[in-house]
């Protein structure tokens, strides 16, 4: 137990903690909020750079692990938080809530997620989850003069606290059975035991708590309200970052610790996935608010992403990881357009005739909508293709058929946005004038959605290499 070696392994998290505090304190001196936002981006970039140079290994009595898997997820968090900061500046200014804490809270939530992705122990996992969730509760309610934003924060907090309790309850049952919280030791001690009722109860508690984090049906009730009320950049962030973090822990806990009862958790996840795909896609059809529509679509995408974990193979995990990576770009891209539209872009009807008044932004929105549907040559197609491939290879062809049919259903509501933009006459004049950071965010997301659609090779290899699980 070499202490300095342990410290070396958690260097990224240490740096991020320090830099987040610096950003928090900087607000006292620096009055210009854009500078603080810029500091936030620097903080993430520095952390990302350090993360790249950390050797794989276990630290702190095997509580913390650094491997390709955690690194891949951390990069999803870093990218989504940078894109979120780029989108936030003008939005917060317009909403009159531009405070520096926003950026440090965002950094703290990324810190929590990093611990989640790296945790090899249920206690660390719980702490990471709480750090992430507490930061986001505040961020969701950041528009403090807006009743809907308050509602979002309160709702998220109450239900989040409930899910934390479930998580703790599940952890305590696991501890009861095995006497440890370390994932690997749990796995070793469970091999001998059969699937006892207590273990099943623990599994159900854990699955419910995780399902809450990824907004899987029937634990999705919070997400449309929270997504609608929260500041749009935070909605974009929540639909990608915390969701990916949820998948990171699902993958690790179920595959590593509960590998001996794979049949049982696969059944549970299958039920969740089927319900999530159906309910998410079907309810999205009737939405009139675009943020709510994207919330239900985000629920549905959780259902797709679960397919890879259900497959359970390295290939399956890799496909879920790649899918979440791709989803980060296409979903934040779609939310970027919504953010740029500002208050004029919350309702679906606001997009009528956008193809005429703002051809550029309409064209970009069109790309994101087709990517979310999964139509080639966009990244969304590559992601879905990989998921379907892995799930069929694992023998769940029925699930794949359901998933493709649900993709066809989803075409209906994504296409409705395209239809409104291009096939209706503009009902009012919209003036869209993004600032430089927003334009940058949209350029990055569009570029990657198209690049990964046409030439996905390197990204697939990246996910494959990262999959060298733990």
């Amino acid at each position: 137990m070499d202490f300095s070696r342990d410290i070396a392994l958690i260097k990224p998290e240490l740096w991020l903690t320090g830099l987040a505090i610096v950003v928090l304190l900087a607000e006292l001196i620096i009055k210009k909020k854009e500078v603080i936002a810029f500091l936030g981006i620097i903080a993430i970039a520095v952390t990302a750079f350090i993360t790249l140079n950390v050797a794989p290994g276990l630290a702190f009595k095997e509580m913390y692990t650094s491997d390709g898997y955690s690194m891949f997820f951390k990069f999803i968090f870093f990218i989504s938080s940078i894109l979120t900061i780029l989108l936030s500046m003008r939005y917060l200014g317009n909403e009159n809530v531009h405070y520096g804490e926003y950026y440090s809270l965002l950094l703290f939530s990324v810190l929590g997620m990093s611990f989640m992705a790296s945790s090899n122990d249920l206690i660390l996992l719980y702490l990471g989850t709480e750090l992430m969730a507490l930061s986001i509760y505040v961020l969701a309610g950041f528009k403090r003069y807006d009743a809907r934003s308050n509602e979002a924060a309160l709702k998220y907090f109450l239900l989040g606290a409930f899910s934390s309790a479930l998580l703790l309850y599940g952890i305590s049952f696991i501890y009861l059975l095995t006497g440890t919280t370390n994932l690997r030791e749990i796995a070793q001690r469970l091999i001998s035991g059969s699937s006892e009722p207590v273990l099943m109860i623990a599994l159900l508690f854990l699955a419910s708590a995780f399902a809450f984090k990824i907004a899987a049906v029937p634990f999705h009730m919070w997400s449309p309200d929270v997504y609608e009320g929260a500041p749009t950049p935070i909605t974009a962030f929540m639909s990608v970052g915390p969701k990916a973090a949820g998948f990171a822990v699902i993958g690790r806990v179920f595959i590593i610790a509960l590998g001996s009862i794979a049949v049982d958790w696969k059944t549970v996840l299958m039920v969740l996935s089927v319900l999530t795909m159906i309910v998410g896609n079907v309810l999205a059809i009737s939405q009139t608010n675009i943020k709510r529509m994207l919330a239900y679509s985000s629920i549905a995408h959780s259902g797709y992403a679960l397919l890879g974990i259900i497959a359970g193979t390295p290939e399956g995990i890799g496909s879920t990881m790649l899918y979440l990576f791709i989803y980060a770009f296409m979903n934040i891209g779609a939310f970027a357009i919504v953010t740029i539209m500002g208050r004029e872009g919350e309702q679906l009807s606001d997009y009528e005739g956008l193809g005429k008044t703002e051809p550029l932004w309409a064209a970009l929105m069109l790309i994101f909508m087709f990517s979310l549907t999964g139509i080639p040559p966009t990244a969304g197609f590559v992601g879905k293709f990989y998921l379907f491939m892995s799930v069929i290879n694992a023998g769940y062809t029925g699930l794949a058929i359901l998933a493709v049919i649900m993709s066809a259903v989803s075409a209906y509501f994504y296409l409705r946005v395209v239809m409104l933009m291009y096939m209706k006459e503009p009902s009012k004049s919209v003036s869209v004038s993004p600032n430089l950071p927003e334009a940058l965010a949209v350029t990055i997301t569009t570029g990657l959605v198209l690049l990964m659609g046409v030439s996905p090779y390197y990204f697939i290899e990246f996910a494959k290499a990262a999959m060298s699980l733990i």
Partner: protein
């Protein structure tokens, strides 16, 4: 051949579309000329396929292979044989005609329209020349985006409903094929290479399941009865160029899919399913024809006639003999030319009158004699008058059909009679009788419109008089296919 013909033909329109993207939206004339030049260039670039194609070979020619996504063993793999080469040529030919016919009729969002048109052309040619399933699927699906926009943005009054219906029908069918493709990948030794998959033999049960998975995609595209209902809406509401592409190429992709994939990949399942397929084809022939008799809308009538004609095509294909298959392929080309031309002609008169109602017209032959002449040629070709192209195709199909099933052949033959009835009656109502006051003072076809249609007249007569130019392309490939099916 010094240059990669197929890639050039696929990517020239894409380059054209990118150029248009850079142009200002006010420079409409420049945009139109640019698209015309690129579609003509594409057609010229495709000519080596016609001139240098070795008709004595049955294997793939003009092959291009590159690694694309090695992780999944996916290649950028192009090539044409006797079955696909004519479709590539037809797609390349219809490109410039679609640009020409839209010259004055598209006034809104001109830039976007031509970008969509060029992208659709690239995707269509890609579909017909891909030899890798992943690549094929990318082109197959990518085409939906511009087609959806063309119908929905520049279409008629019920365009939005029709566009959504078109998209959902085809997507629902395609995704099932996607599952089929992936299943094929894992059962065929982890490859998407169509040729290497064709050289394998799959167990009967698997063949049967996959046959139906692919059927879902192809039957919707053809469209076969009873999943044809998107077609009348889409054809009717689409702008002229959209209808021409739909009728000329897009619905051929379904029948092409049967020929290229279902037959050689699942021969046992195909043979077992022949009775079902023949029944569906005959229903389409007769049902489509009878529906045509009661249409009051010009475009809708021609759209339903497509259902009937495509019934002939699938009948020929599933007769599974040399005559039937060759007739089926030729009839696809014929239908592309003739129905494409009929939609172009409807577009010509629609530009003047903005009405598709048959009762709006009458005595058109008196006011627009040149127009009436053109329409007559294509009407007769559509009916199957000997000496014009429709006759050759239908004759071969019925010959093949009789060999496969006497009943199917006989019923299909009655379809020809119904076809003559609705087309001639249509001609009578529109072109003869008293001159309807609505159409007084209309100008006859101008030079641009004549140039658009003249190449198609030449082809109609050429195929009708000397079909061997075109049948020669497919003899060897079809022979191989028939051997495989025995």
């Amino acid at each position: 051949m010094g240059y990669p013909v197929l890639s050039t033909v696929i990517f020239l329109p894409v380059i054209g579309a990118l150029l248009l993207l850079l142009m200002g939206r006010r420079q409409e004339l420049a945009i139109k000329w640019c698209s015309l030049i690129f579609t003509v260039l594409t057609f010229i670039a495709s000519l080596p396929l016609f001139l240098n194609f070795d008709k004595a070979r049955s294997d793939m020619q003009f092959v291009e292979v590159f690694e694309w996504i090695p992780a999944w063993n996916i290649k950028y793999y192009l090539g044409v044989d006797g079955i696909s080469v004519l479709f590539v040529l037809l797609s390349a030919l219809l490109g410039p005609l679609c640009v020409l016919i839209s010259w004055h009729s598209i006034k809104d969002k001109v830039k976007e329209f031509y970008i969509a048109l060029l992208l659709i052309e690239a995707a269509m040619i890609g579909v017909f020349s891909s030899l890798d399933f992943f690549l094929f699927y990318v082109f197959w699906e990518a085409m939906l985006i511009p087609m959806y926009l063309i119908i929905g943005v520049w279409g008629g009054p019920r365009r939005i409903y029709s566009a959504i219906k078109f998209f959902l029908y085809t997507l629902a069918g395609s995704v099932l094929m996607l599952v089929g493709i992936i299943v094929l990948y894992f059962n065929g030794g982890h490859t998407f290479d169509i040729l290497s998959l064709m050289s394998q033999k799959f167990p009967y049960k698997l063949q049967l399941i996959l046959f139906w998975a692919f059927f879902a995609a192809f039957a919707v595209k053809v469209p076969m009865w009873p999943v044809h209902t998107w077609l009348p809406d889409a054809h009717t509401e689409a702008p002229t160029a959209g209808s021409v592409i739909l009728a000329g190429i897009l619905i051929k992709m379904g029948a092409y899919g049967f020929l290229r994939f279902s037959l050689p990949l699942f021969p046992d399942a195909t043979r077992a399913m022949v009775p079902v397929m023949l029944t569906l084809s005959v229903i389409a022939i007769i049902y489509g024809g009878v529906i045509c008799l009661v249409q009051s809308d010009l475009k809708r009538l021609i759209a339903y006639s497509s259902v009937s004609h495509m019934g002939f095509v699938t009948l020929g294909i599933f007769a599974l003999n040399q005559q039937g298959l060759e007739g089926g392929i030729l009839q696809m080309i014929n239908h592309g030319i003739v129905t494409g031309a009929l939609f172009l002609l409807v577009g010509v008169i629609y530009d003047r009158s903005h009405s598709r109602e048959i009762s709006h017209y009458g005595g058109v032959a008196t006011v627009l004699p040149v127009y009436a002449g053109f329409f007559m040629v294509f009407t007769l070709a559509s009916i199957g008058l000997p000496g014009l192209n429709g006759f050759i195709g239908e004759f071969l199909i019925i010959l093949g059909g009789f060999k496969a099933s006497k009943l199917a052949g006989a019923l299909a033959a009655t379809g020809i009679i119904i076809g003559a009835a609705y087309m001639l009656w249509l001609y009578q109502r529109v072109f003869f009788q008293e001159v309807n006051p609505n159409i007084k003072g209309y100008k006859d076809m101008d030079l641009r419109e004549i140039i658009t249609l003249a190449p198609l007249v030449v082809l109609v007569v050429w195929i009708g008089v000397y079909p061997n130019t075109f049948l020669g392309f497919m003899h060897e490939s079809v022979k191989q296919l028939v051997i495989k099916l025995q």
